[in-house]
Structure formats: structure tokens, C-alpha cells
């Protein structure tokens, strides 16, 4: 197990695992989604088969991913203190998003009876995105604000905020443009293409953020004198 020399975070392992699992989940969903989309667009499978297979994959993978995220966020919180612990507690809320994603439409429109406004999948996607992006945004804001957090981690956390927000909300913004505000606009058509790529990064980039946070934190911790507990504290509020 990789250990910080000293401080409220006793181990980087949960952070590394969290980043790796999140990035791997993002990569896996992007690959499977692309593979199924390619087959469907080539006519090798029908839209019905595409939907069935994608739904089957999503229901399993997102449940597993969500549970893993939750466990790892909690582990991160356990091995940290102060504002960092608070940050990871907020982050844990984001793990609900993949768990709820396959059921979001049923919950919103059948259980709660909200109107779909002929954009049910967009609304459901927006809600689950919000559920994922907002806790992560708060997490990164807290890390960026933590005075005891190493400077490099704070800058990275700050950079991660727009990354999370853009990857989360750009596809929704484009969808609203495409279907409600400016349908048929060629410029929006090109944005759909970009949006398809950005969407694939929704989990990958935050996952990489956590991995790089762990990397910077570990390198920072190794370079600090053991006597300087304040400087060697990793991802911790002083």
C-alpha cells in the first residue's frame, strides 16, 4: 500500500483506486457504447437490439460502478481529515448518479409523475448528470480551497471544476439546442459531433483528475521532510 509519510490521509490507495475505477468505467462505457452505436449505424443490428443490449450493459455496469464509487469515496473520506473528508463525503453523493441512471426516467416520470415535455430522456439525463457533476464540483471546490492541501493539488482541483462541468453540461446544452432551440442549424449539427466525443469523457476526465491528484500528492509527500508535517500532509486541511 502506498502511504503518505504523515498527516490526516493515511493512504493514497483509495484515491488511486477511485480514479482508476472511474476512468475505467468511463472508458468501458465509451467503448461499449461506440461499438454498439457503430453496429447499429451500419445496420448490423436493429435499433431495438441496440437499445436492449445497451440497457442490459448499463444496468449491470452502472450498478457495479456506483457501488464501487460509493465504497471508494467513503474509504477516501475515512483516510482523510478536515475539509478533505468533507469533500469526499460530498463526492460520495456522485456515486448515486450511475446507480440511478438506468431508473431515472421511471423515477421522474412514472413515480414522481413529472411531465416529460417531449424530452424525457434529455431531462432524465440532465438530472443524473446534475447528480454526478454537482457533488464532484463541490468536492473539487473544497479541495481547491483547502489551505492545507498542497498547492499542486489545489490547482489541479481548480482545473477539474470546468472539466467536470463542461463534460457534464455541454452535451445537454447541445441537445437542447438541437431539439428545441435551433433544430436544423448546421452549426449545431457540428456541435452534436463534438458533444458525442465530450460525452465519452464524462467519467474518464474526473477519474484522471483523481489519479493525478494522487500522483501529485504522493510525489509531494515524498519530497517533504518528515519533520514538516504540514507540508507533507496530502489532500488535507491543515
Amino acid at each position: 500500500m502506498v502511504r503518505a509519510h504523515q498527516g490526516p490521509v493515511r493512504s493514497h490507495l483509495p484515491l488511486i483506486l477511485l480514479g482508476a475505477v472511474m476512468a475505467a468505467y468511463g472508458l468501458l462505457t465509451a467503448l461499449v457504447g461506440s461499438w454498439l452505436a457503430k453496429q447499429a449505424m451500419q445496420g448490423a443490428i436493429t435499433a431495438g437490439v441496440y437499445r436492449s443490449r445497451l440497457a442490459a450493459f448499463d444496468q449491470t455496469s452502472s450498478l457495479v460502478a456506483g457501488i464501487l464509487f460509493l465504497a471508494l469515496f467513503i474509504w477516501c473520506a475515512v483516510v482523510s481529515t478536515g475539509i478533505v473528508r468533507v469533500a469526499f463525503c460530498f463526492g460520495a453523493l456522485a456515486s448515486l448518479a450511475p446507480i440511478l441512471a438506468p431508473w431515472a426516467e421511471d423515477l421522474l416520470f412514472k413515480s414522481l409523475g413529472l411531465p416529460t415535455m417531449s424530452a424525457g430522456s434529455v431531462l432524465a439525463g440532465a438530472v443524473t448528470t446534475l447528480l454526478f457533476a454537482l457533488p464532484l464540483t463541490i468536492l473539487f471546490i473544497l479541495l481547491a480551497c483547502g489551505r492545507g492541501v498542497p498547492t499542486g493539488c489545489r490547482w489541479l482541483a481548480l482545473a477539474s471544476i470546468p472539466v467536470v462541468l463542461v463534460t457534464a453540461f455541454y452535451p445537454i446544452y447541445v441537445t437542447l439546442l438541437a431539439f428545441l432551440i435551433r433544430p436544423g442549424d448546421p452549426a449545431v449539427g457540428r456541435m452534436i459531433e463534438v458533444s458525442s466525443q465530450v460525452l465519452k469523457l464524462r467519467f474518464i476526465l474526473p477519474g484522471l483528475s483523481f489519479l493525478f491528484l494522487a500522483l501529485i500528492s504522493m510525489r509531494f509527500a515524498r519530497k517533504q521532510p518528515l519533520a514538516d508535517s504540514q507540508a507533507s500532509a496530502v489532500l488535507a486541511e491543515g
Binding site: G33, S34, L36, A37, K38, A40, M41, Q42, G43, T46, A47, G48, Y50, R51, S52, L54, E105, F109, T116, S118, A119, G120, S121, V122, G125, G152, W155, A159, S160, V163, V166, T167, A178, F179, G184, D185, P186, A187, V188, G189, R190, I192, E193, V194, S195, S196, Q197, V198, L199, L201, I204, L205, L208, S209, L215, I216, R219, F220, K223, Q224
Partner: protein, 573 residues
């Protein structure tokens, strides 16, 4: 190593990676499309403003093919319709617009309108005008008017000018519909240019709620027996999951036949072809009185008795059926390829998961079923007898077929058809010379599917490019509302089914053109009898009612109509 330098190195690396990842994400997709559409889009406004200026320079930037130009220009009078929904660019009207300017500047034809009325008043106004001797040089007529005015001797014979002037594109488009030129031919001579459209577009396909099929584990239907079984399960197994027995298997309205929720597709599955004429034993026969209707009617009767059909279908019009579809209570309907645009899209109002899939009409037996369809030739462009330049019509048609309807040039399409950014202004409504390509829907869909298969939209025009993006949004972003485009133009969609209809899975109404004398007088009554008979049998009356209907149909004028239609077929081989 200095810790600070390590930190700087690491931070820099991390930030560069992030920025690079975002940049690649942003650029990855955009790079697929090589067309500089930004330039085209910005040029669109310029196109419109230029078109608004009445100078030949307005068209100088367009790559147009116009071999023959009148010099000096000729005058041509016409008449037109403008409905309240028609919008013009600022400064334009029906008398002065991009089309009148193009005809004058590019073809040397000064087109003026003697009068312009609402579409509902056209036939009456044209009749008055012609009766008073004020005959326009160019005008549009219905099949019945074509026959009437040809017999009155006021139409110019276009046979020779068509042979001399028609371009290859014009000939190709008019030959795509096998009855187009025939419908404009009387006594072996061509009296009008048919305004073509895609006849195959009104061929029936079977639409089924795919999400219900998935939920109940139902395989796609391969026979009419499967259709009946799907209908039963949709009715009995609560596919909408609300615990109430409130779903129906098959929807149709009181008119029974139509483009939305019509029954002709159902009958086609039994090799019955209501309302059309087809060849049987060497003669043309009327489909509604053939014995194949019986089996279909009996199955419909059973479906009704089992609650698979709306018990109030006999009083519900298409708007009410549309409402039932919107409520998510309908599992199947026989309609046409564009039904997902309306009304099937409405079923997503209450359930984002709702979507429909098109299937070819299944057969009741081993013989493949054929979808019936009729010619889409409803009107003709004609010239006044005595007009000095009847070939001008052919040149106007050539201008359309050579430069506009097949053009993939967005500048041309925006100039003459309309701009997608200004959808209320439909420019082609200002000209009477509008011939849609009969195979256009299919050819466009083929281009779109090829682009999807190669994941490369380069080369698609703006319209097809947009459809590509919508299908992409469905498959790559999970936007379920985009299913409409997938279900119609996408791979395994409805349009590919039309290709098979054109090949060997369709049956074209063999009678087209003007109603025969007896048909004009008696067919409306016979059609009312037919609708009543079908409705009564479905609702439980004896099938012997069908036999009685057949007997009555022949005795009340059907025999004469059959004779006249077969005589017409002999005269119009």
C-alpha cells in the same frame, strides 16, 4: 532534484494533459466533416439578400446549367395560388420573388400572374377565367380538368417540344414513376407535364411499439398470425405496466383507410387490395370486392370481439386515434413511412421509452405480401393552345430538374428552395414548376445510410447532414427522442422497406387519371357502402354481409365501372 521543479513539472504535465484531452475531444468530431460549412452558413444570408435584389448578379455566384435562354425575353402569363401560410422574404411577393426573377434573368421568361387566389378557390376561378376566354399561357390542372380542357381544344400538344427539349434529368425523373407520362397522355399525345411526387411513399408498412415488444419478449412478426398474436398480447399482457386493461393491439379510425392508422396494410397481408385496381386473370379487378377480403374481415372481427380494437373506432376520426396513440394505448398501426414524424412521435409524451419500429407487411401464407400504393400524380402543368413558345414550359422544368431538385449545392438549395434557418419561408411554393423526384426519398435515405455506415457525413447536403447528426445523437448520446429519424431514414428503418416495395413487394394501383363516367357518378356511393360493410362486419355482423356487398356493388354500377376501367386499360396500355 528540487522539489519545486518537480512540482512545476508535474503540474504542467497534468494541466497540459487536461487541456489536450479537452482539445482533442472538441476537435475529434469536428474533424470528421471537411466541408467548410461555417462559410456556407454565413453565405446563406448573403444568398437571401442577393436574391432579394432584382438583378441577374443575384445568381452569378451559383453554378447553374441553363443551355437555352430566350433573347430577347418572352412574356408568359400564368395563374397561381397563395395560401395564408405562405411567407415571403422582405420586399418579395408572388409577383416578384426569387423564382420570377430567375425565370426572367436566367431563362429569359417574364412570368406574370393574371390572378392569384387561395388554393381552395383555384378550380372555380380557373373555370371562370377559361370560360370567359381569358386563358393563361401556363396553368395547373387536375386529371379531370386535363381531359376536359384537352377535349375543349384549349391545351397545347407538348409531344414534340418534350421530345426536342426535355433534358436527361427531366426524362429520368418523369420515368421514375411508370404512370407519370401516361397519365398526361391522351390519344397518344402529351398534353401536360405531370407534377411528380413519390408514389411509393404511400405504401403501407406495419408500425409496432418496439418497447412493448422488448418488454414482453416478442420477436418481430414474420406472418399475419404473428401480428394477430402480438395484438393479443399487447391487449392482454398490460405492456404499459399500469395494471389496467387499457391497451389495444391495433388502431384505425372510422374512415378505415388512410396514411395514418389505415387498414389497407392489414388487408394486404391477406393479399387483398381494397380501393385499388390490380390485374387478375388478365383484366383489371377492383380489390374491395375480391374474395381475399373475407379472411381479413373475419380476423378483424375476432380482434374486435377480443377487445384488441378500440370499441369506439366506428365513431372516432383520425384526430381521436392520434390522441389514443399519444396516450400510449396503441401497440400497432398500419401506416406509411413518415408516421413517426406524426403521430407516433406523440407516444413519447408520457413515456420517454416509447418508440416504434417499421416492419414489412407480413403475409397470411407462404406468398410474400405486397403493399398497395397509388400514383401520386394529382396535377399537371399545361400550356395554352396557340401560345408561341410551348417549349418554354419544358425549359422551366429542365431548370428545376437540372439545377434544383437534385442539387447537393447548399447555396442553390438555399436560394431556390429555402433556408433551414428560416423555415417559415418556403421558396419553392412561389413557382408552379415543382417536380419532386419519385425515388427521392429512397435515394436520400441510401446516401444517409452509406454515410452512417462509414461514419462520414462529408458530401451530404445540409438536410441529410442534419438527419445524420440526429441519428448520431440517438446512438452516441442516448437521445431517445431522436428515434423518429432512426425509425424512418436510419438503418433497418421504414424507407429501406420501401425499396423492397419498389422491387417486388409492392402493388401499384393500375388505374390512374380521370375517373370513368360511371365511376365519377357512382363510386362515392359504392365507397360509402364499402366502409359501412367493413365497419359492420368488424363490429360483429355476419360475414355474409360481404357477399351481399359484392353483389350490390356489381349491380349498382360496379359492372359498368369494371368494363370502363378495362376499356381504359386497353386504350392506355
Amino acid at each position: 532534484m528540487n522539489p519545486l521543479s518537480v512540482k512545476k513539472h508535474t503540474y504542467g504535465m497534468v494541466l497540459i494533459l487536461f487541456v489536450s484531452a479537452l482539445f482533442l475531444a472538441g476537435c475529434g468530431g469536428g474533424a470528421v466533416e471537411t466541408t467548410p460549412e461555417g462559410a456556407v452558413a454565413s453565405g446563406a444570408d448573403a444568398d437571401i439578400s442577393e436574391a432579394a435584389a432584382s438583378t441577374s448578379d443575384a445568381f452569378a455566384h451559383l453554378n447553374l446549367d441553363i443551355p437555352n435562354v430566350y433573347d430577347p425575353p418572352i412574356d408568359m402569363s400564368s395563374v397561381s395560388t397563395v395560401n395564408a401560410t405562405v411567407k415571403f422574404l422582405e420586399g418579395d411577393d408572388i409577383y416578384n420573388n426569387v423564382w420570377t426573377r430567375a425565370y426572367e434573368d436566367l431563362l429569359g421568361i417574364k412570368l406574370s400572374y393574371k390572378w392569384v387566389v387561395d388554393g381552395s378557390m383555384y378550380d372555380q376561378k380557373l373555370g371562370l377565367s377559361i370560360n370567359s376566354g381569358d386563358i393563361p399561357d401556363l396553368f395547373v390542372v387536375s386529371p379531370a380538368q386535363l381531359l376536359m380542357y384537352q377535349e375543349a381544344g384549349i391545351l397545347a400538344d407538348l409531344t414534340s417540344v418534350y421530345e426536342d427539349e426535355a433534358s436527361a434529368n427531366t426524362r429520368d425523373i418523369l420515368s421514375q414513376d411508370p404512370v407519370a407520362l401516361k397519365a398526361a397522355t391522351i390519344d397518344g399525345k402529351l398534353w401536360g407535364i405531370p407534377l411528380t411526387d413519390a408514389s411509393v411513399n404511400n405504401a403501407s408498412v406495419l408500425w409496432i411499439r418496439q418497447d412493448w415488444m422488448d418488454k414482453l419478449g416478442i420477436e418481430p412478426p414474420t406472418s399475419m398470425a404473428d401480428v394477430l398474436e402480438i395484438s393479443r398480447r399487447f391487449t392482454e399482457e398490460d405492456p404499459d405496466g399500469n395494471g389496467a386493461a387499457d391497451t389495444i393491439g391495433l388502431a384505425f379510425d372510422k374512415s378505415l383507410m388512410g396514411s395514418i392508422a389505415g387498414l389497407q396494410g392489414f388487408f394486404n397481408g391477406y393479399h387483398a387490395y381494397p380501393g385499388i385496381w390490380f390485374e387478375r386473370d388478365g383484366k383489371l379487378a377492383y380489390g374491395s370486392v375480391q374474395p381475399e377480403m373475407r379472411t381479413a374481415l373475419l380476423d378483424l372481427q375476432k380482434m374486435y370481439a377480443d377487445g384488441q380494437i378500440d370499441p369506439e373506432f366506428g365513431v372516432k376520426d383520425i384526430n381521436q386515434v392520434t390522441e389514443t396513440i399519444a396516450q400510449g394505448k396503441v401497440g400497432m398501426e398500419f401506416g406509411v413511412w413518415w408516421n413517426p414524424y406524426h403521430p407516433l412521435n406523440l407516444s413519447q409524451q408520457n413515456n420517454p421509452d416509447a418508440y416504434w419500429t417499421a416492419f414489412p407487411i407480413p403475409s397470411v401464407d407462404e406468398t410474400p405480401a405486397k403493399s398497395q400504393y397509388s400514383s401520386a400524380i394529382w396535377s399537371f402543368l399545361v400550356m395554352r393552345e396557340g401560345f408561341e413558345h410551348p417549349e418554354a414550359l419544358i425549359r422551366m422544368v429542365n431548370f428545376w430538374t437540372d439545377n434544383i431538385v437534385r442539387s447537393q449545392d447548399d447555396s442553390i438549395r438555399k436560394t431556390f428552395l429555402g433556408d433551414i434557418e428560416n423555415p417559415d419561408v418556403v421558396l419553392y411554393k412561389y413557382t408552379p414548376v415543382v417536380l419532386w423526384e419519385p425515388n427521392g426519398t429512397i435515394e436520400n435515405s441510401q446516401k444517409l445510410r452509406a454515410a452512417l455506415a462509414s461514419h462520414d457525413p462529408a458530401g451530404l447536403n445540409n438536410d441529410l447532414s442534419w438527419r445524420y447528426r440526429i441519428i448520431q445523437a440517438y446512438f452516441e448520446q442516448g437521445i431517445k427522442e431522436a428515434w423518429v429519424e432512426v425509425a424512418t431514414n436510419g438503418p433497418n428503418g421504414a424507407v429501406p422497406i420501401l425499396e423492397s416495395v419498389l422491387e417486388d413487394r409492392g402493388i401499384l394501383n393500375r388505374f390512374y387519371g380521370t375517373p370513368t363516367p360511371t365511376m365519377a357518378v357512382k363510386l362515392p356511393t359504392l365507397q360509402t357502402m364499402e366502409t359501412e360493410m367493413i365497419t359492420k362486419i368488424i363490429m360483429g355482423d355476419s360475414i355474409e354481409l360481404f357477399d351481399q356487398f359484392v353483389e350490390d356493388w356489381y349491380s349498382l354500377g360496379g359492372t359498368e365501372i369494371v368494363d370502363e376501367v378495362n376499356q381504359w386499360a386497353t386504350d392506355n396500355p
